[in-house]
């Protein structure tokens, strides 16, 4: 009985969340339209000024390693953490088997 009540509460919460998300999706502008708010002055600035401001021909590199340098830096730290986690997990489980 208790389990059923809990399931009912969860169902209500999930329904309300999904309803809210669907409402938000309905408010989104149509995909790929030229007057969407995504197509603002940022991309124009990159296209026009990237060569002058960074001196790099490859625009993707100029964005990844100069305009968005913080992002790439923490991306490398994420890679470091991932490798650390895998190595620690695998080594620990190997050691346990040897200890037995």
């Amino acid at each position: 009985m208790k389990l059923r009540v809990r399931n009912l509460i969860i169902l209500v919460f999930v329904s309300v969340t999904i309803y809210g998300m669907l409402l938000m999706i309905a408010e989104l502008p149509p995909y790929g339209m030229p007057d969407n708010p995504v197509h603002n002055e940022v991309s124009v600035r990159y296209i026009n000024e990237a060569l002058e401001e960074t001196g790099v021909l490859n625009m993707v590199t100029s964005i990844v390693l100069d305009y968005r340098a913080y992002d790439t830096m923490f991306e490398t730290i994420v890679l470091f953490t991932a490798v650390l986690a895998v190595v620690i997990t695998v080594r620990a489980s190997n050691g346990k088997e040897k200890g037995k």
């Binding site: 060569l51 960074t54 001196g55 100029s62």
Partner: protein, 141 residues
């Protein structure tokens, strides 16, 4: 694997794949590609070597100590280059603001810090691939 033909072909092709990966890393700012793609190619060449010649020979090519150093100092290298901006009195990771010579667009030494950062990121990605592969293969034993 004990296939003779596979080993001979790999010994001819793999060095070129590795050098091509370094080419992609070093030319990430003047041609298509970049440090992430180049790092993957370098890592893949070592992974292919260890798959064909056996994991022990692959480990001899890239000892664990080298991998650990590449892992940790590749990450630190980025932060050290970011400090150049702070030393010059401008924000962290600043490039043109720090007054570094940008060079002629299209030259190998253009872009100030970007090419140096790219080398660090490329080595970082390659060592990540190889470390993950070696660790996973260790588990199989």
């Amino acid at each position: 694997m004990k296939d003779f033909i596979l080993k001979r072909i790999a010994s001819i092709v793999l060095p070129f794949i590795c050098i091509y990966g370094f080419y992609v890393i070093f030319h990430g700012h003047v041609s298509p590609g970049g440090s992430f793609a180049g790092g993957i190619i370098v890592g893949l060449s070592f992974i292919a070597f260890s798959t064909i010649y056996g994991i022990e020979k692959g480990r001899k090519k890239l000892p664990e100590k080298v991998l650990v150093y590449a892992e940790s100092y590749g990450t630190l290298w980025y932060g050290i280059l970011g400090l150049v901006g702070i030393v010059k009195g401008v924000p962290f990771l600043a490039n043109k603001l720090a007054g570094i010579d940008m060079g002629a667009p299209g030259a190998l030494n253009s872009g100030g810090l970007i090419s140096l950062i790219g080398i660090g990121v490329g080595i970082r990605v390659a060592s990540t691939m190889v470390t993950l592969f070696f660790t996973m293969m260790e588990e199989e034993k």
